[in-house]
């Protein structure tokens, strides 16, 4: 049976035809509209995971704030990290429109029940990694997020538009770091190549498993949450990135990578999806470190939240007395 916008258990629901019509005519679904339980659940999961990824995404870069090679690079990295925090906040707010709370989502992250993008569990060893993250990790994220701007849920699509607008600077600052390194000394070029070697395959995994192995793809596609397949997005990324690597005179670490004239696309090698599953489920190089840092930041910030609450309470009391 083909997967449709209305799952069988909602077939007789009075809200169902209206929902199906909206999906059909590309009308956005808004928070107060009727929606299937699965649609709500899928979005809460996806949007909170997306928010967690933005949030945790700040952590790999923070070590390089004090080690950036110049004041200009430091200011840029600081602005990028601040954007990631902002993007997490947009997405948490958007997810809250579906009835979950910020406290619930953070608790799920901090207790390890919620997932976030596996890519942030890899170590950031050199300054060239910062360049590569901006160029490739943000580049891959943008491809996925441009698709999500057309997602059927209004608040998610709107958050994505804003995020895409802001994130193109992230990718460009990363590429600029790579250009600088690749035009530098032999050691700097080696550093750039080494970073590409370590990040290339994990970045390709960011688009998720093959469509044939992706459990929720068909339903998400029927709901127009997902508008393009994992493999199509990955292909788009590879086609876009190979010429950029060529410009940098860097070698993509894939012996099977070659232009396929017939397909009009680059062919590329097999991705180790077992590694993806391993890292997603908690066993990557830095999972414990990242989650530990996130929990510590939350705990260490408790006094700030308490102080803000106390300050607000004091001002309310004074306003009443006056």
């Amino acid at each position: 049976m083909p997967v449709t916008a209305i799952p069988p258990e909602h077939a007789d629901d009075p809200g169902a035809p209206g929902f199906a019509a909206k999906i059909d005519t590309e009308t956005k679904i808004e928070p107060k509209d009727w929606m299937p339980d699965g649609y709500r659940k899928t979005l809460v999961r996806q949007m909170s995971q997306h928010a967690h990824s933005e949030y945790v995404g700040m952590l790999p870069e923070r070590n390089w704030l004090t080690r950036a090679p110049s004041l200009k690079r430091k200011a840029q990295l600081l602005a990028k990290i601040q954007d990631e925090a902002g993007h997490a906040l947009y997405l948490y707010s958007a997810a809250e429109t579906l009835g979950t709370s910020r406290a619930e989502m953070l608790d799920a992250l901090h207790t390890g029940r919620a997932k976030y993008a596996h890519i942030f569990n890899y170590p950031v060893l050199t300054w060239a990694d910062i360049g590569t993250i901006g160029w490739l990790v943000d580049g891959a994220a943008i491809i996925n997020q441009i698709m999500l701007c057309r997602c059927s849920y209004g608040p998610y699509a709107r958050a994505m538009e804003r995020i895409c607008r802001e994130e193109s600077f992230h990718q460009r600052q990363g590429f600029e770091i790579m250009v600088t390194l690749c035009q530098g000394t032999a050691e700097q070029r080696r550093m750039a190549q080494d970073a590409l070697n370590r990040w290339w395959w994990p970045v390709l995994m960011m688009f998720g498993p093959h469509d044939s192995a992706s459990a929720n793809s068909a339903q998400s596609t029927a709901w127009k949450i997902k508008r393009q397949s994992n493999d199509d997005l990955r292909q788009q990324f590879v086609d876009m990135t190979v010429p950029q690597a060529d410009y940098l005179k860097l070698t993509i670490p894939d012996p099977d990578l070659r232009w396929n004239e017939t397909r009009g696309h680059y062919d590329f090698g097999q991705i180790d999806f077992e590694e993806l599953m391993r890292v997603v489920s908690g066993d990557g190089p830095c999972n414990r470190e990242r989650l530990g840092a996130r929990v510590k930041a939350h705990d260490d910030g408790a006094w700030v939240r308490e102080a803000a609450t106390a300050y607000a309470a004091k001002r309310r009391t004074r306003a009443k007395a006056a």
């Binding site: 902002g86 910020r102 802001e166």
Partner: protein, 98 residues
């Protein structure tokens, strides 16, 4: 939920005026303990790139919204009144400034 999770601060809707002469437009929402801190947070979250020069914050619970189910009774009456639009009227080609 574990002990660490506590109740959220109130939710505020943020409106940003891009520049003088334009109306404030909804930008998003955020949590803050009071209005003053909501303004400060809104500045950091929604105007990092000179998106505006004036902010409004409103407690989300203070916004009264129409029910999507009432869409028909509220807005359908306007649909049949196309004579409220200038394009409804026929004007001779040779007449100008109308």
């Amino acid at each position: 939920m574990s002990e660490a999770a506590s109740a959220d601060w109130p939710l505020w809707e943020v409106f940003v005026r891009a520049r003088q002469g334009l109306s404030h437009k909804h930008a998003g929402s955020l949590h803050a303990p009071d209005a003053e801190m909501a303004i400060q947070n809104a500045r950091d979250v929604y105007t990092r790139r000179r998106e505006g020069e004036s902010l409004w914050v409103v407690r989300s619970t203070d916004i009264i919204a129409s029910d999507p189910d009432d869409k028909g009774s509220l807005f359908e009456p306007a649909e049949s009144k196309i004579y409220r639009h200038p394009t409804f009227y026929t004007v001779p080609d040779e007449v100008e400034c109308l």
